[in-house]
């Protein structure tokens, strides 16, 4: 049984007048992959963006309720979001490497957090991150080339390496494979399998099959509410809630 890494309690999110999440209570286990599924606009992306306070950049977004990571409340106004984001990394739907060299993409994070004083230390961090993201062999001879020159799948792995470079504890992934071809997708899923040994992973996905393949726990969101959450196998073989079943069998109209 894993420990609980992230706990959300009575989480409500508003965009101006419109409420996007209603009283979400969800626990996420350590070193496990949790998948969040649900139709478009159901709030799953909004939820994970609460976990690293990315919703702060949206002026009209208001968050109430509690989110604890390792017992520390992160919705506190006095919390240093910069150090939060060091612990909770994020990979986006469309790969967004910085328009810099591959090396600089990875070394940027550690540098601004003061990790890696000397060049050799930074070199080590870059190599480790790229190895962990299964990208090192492909790019080790061209670290000076721009990150934007890689293929889509490689770019996404670069973004994963970038997220890893600051040594986070949690990695959030918002539909990381939706812009990728099947082979690139398979490589990323393989990577996620490896990564879960070290990091807690939360993945938002539109693909039911992907959720079944990569996750141990699944949460189903609908219209801002968490309808059902449980072991992935149970959710997909025999869910308790009819709405869940209707969604995963394609009976939503």
């Amino acid at each position: 049984m894993s420990d609980i890494k992230i706990k959300s309690k009575n989480l409500n999110v508003f965009y101006g007048e419109k409420q996007a999440l209603f009283d979400v209570n969800l626990d996420l286990n350590e070193k496990e992959v949790t998948a969040l599924i649900g139709p478009s606009g159901c709030g799953k992306s909004t939820f994970i963006r609460c976990l690293n306070r990315m919703n702060d950049v949206i002026d009209i977004c208001k968050v109430t309720g509690n989110i604890e990571i390792d017992g520390i409340e992160i919705n506190d106004k006095n919390l240093d979001v910069v150090s939060l984001r060091e612990r909770v990394g994020m990979v986006f739907q469309k790969p967004n490497p910085f328009p810099k060299s591959i090396y600089d993409n990875i070394s940027y994070g550690p540098k601004i957090h003061g990790k890696g004083e000397s060049k050799s230390e930074l070199d080590e961090i870059v190599e480790n991150s790229l190895r962990k993201a299964a990208l090192w062999e492909e790019v080790k001879d061209r670290l000076d080339e721009p990150g934007t020159g890689l293929s889509g799948g490689q770019q996404q792995r670069l973004c994963i390496a970038r997220a890893i470079s600051v040594n986070p504890e949690v990695i959030l992934m918002d539909e990381p494979c939706s812009a990728l071809d099947p082979i690139a997708t398979a490589k990323i899923e393989e990577l996620i399998d490896e990564l879960k040994k070290t990091y807690t992973i939360v993945i938002v996905t539109h693909s039911m099959a992907q959720a079944v393949r990569v996750s141990q726990k699944t949460g189903f969101f609908h219209l801002g509410k968490l309808i059902e959450v449980g072991k992935t196998e149970k959710i997909f073989k025999n869910p308790d809630n009819k709405m869940t079943q209707d969604y995963i069998t394609g009976r939503f109209g």
């Binding site: 039911m208 099959a209 997909f236 073989k237 025999n238 869910p239 079943q245 209707d246 995963i248 069998t249 394609g250 009976r251 939503f252 109209g253």
Partner: protein, 230 residues
């Protein structure tokens, strides 16, 4: 399960599959009726009908196999759809076996001996009727997704075993009276045994229907009646 799939063709494919199983079930039922008739009334027409139906049943078996392969590869069915698909596969296998058993019974039809006791035929008929009713009930439970009915069928297997024992005893009794009935009696012994095995397959079907509906297998061992020493 009251609303439909967004993709209409998916909905149709699943309906088609269930239809095929139901049709295969009906054929199996009439197969069993004809086979009982063949034994009891020595009806030659029944025998021809049975052989023809067996071909039909096998055709259904292939058709269902193909439909299931298509569903799995096209739709990656989840939850209830997945259970329906897999259960249909298993049920069609059991139905095919039942059909084979009925055919096997009918093929070795012999003329009735003159001194055949009433009781013997009666026992056999009672066993045959029960098994037929079981089949009918289990197919109903599949069509109507009736958990209780399926469970009843599962529990009633005990009765099938009991009636088998009784029928078997009367045949052995008959045989021991006059060795010249060996041929006929042997045939009846096999026929009785086949009916019992058909009953077991029907119980299998009942278990699968319960799993289909609840998502869990029935707990505990099957109720067993008296067992014949073989």
């Amino acid at each position: 399960m009251s609303n439909e799939h967004t993709v209409k063709s998916y909905e149709e494919e699943l309906r088609h599959l269930i239809d095929s199983v139901i049709k295969m079930g009906s054929l199996t039922e009439s197969q069993m009726v004809d086979s009982m008739d063949a034994i009891i009334k020595v009806d030659k027409d029944s025998i021809d009908k049975i052989i023809k139906n067996d071909e039909e049943i096998n055709k259904f078996r292939s058709k269902i196999d193909t439909q299931i392969m298509t569903l799995l590869v096209k739709r990656a069915p989840m939850a209830i759809d997945l259970r329906e698909t897999i259960s249909s596969l298993k049920i069609s296998q059991d139905l095919e076996r039942i059909g084979d058993l009925s055919k096997s019974n009918a093929k070795k039809v012999k003329p009735l001996p003159l001194d055949l006791p009433e009781e013997l035929l009666g026992n056999l008929k009672r066993l045959g009727d029960l098994v037929l009713k079981q089949l009918n009930d289990v197919l109903d439970s599949f069509v109507n997704k009736d958990f209780d009915k399926a469970k009843e069928v599962w529990e009633k297997d005990e009765q099938v075993d009991d009636l088998t024992y009784i029928a078997m005893e009367s045949v052995i009794d008959f045989l021991s009276k006059d060795k010249k009935n060996l041929d006929f009696s042997t045939h009846l012994i096999f026929a009785t045994k086949n009916l019992e095995r058909a009953g077991d397959h029907i119980t299998n079907i009942a278990e699968n229907v319960c799993y289909l509906i609840k998502g869990e297998y029935l707990k505990g061992n099957r109720p067993k009646g008296k067992v014949i020493q073989e």
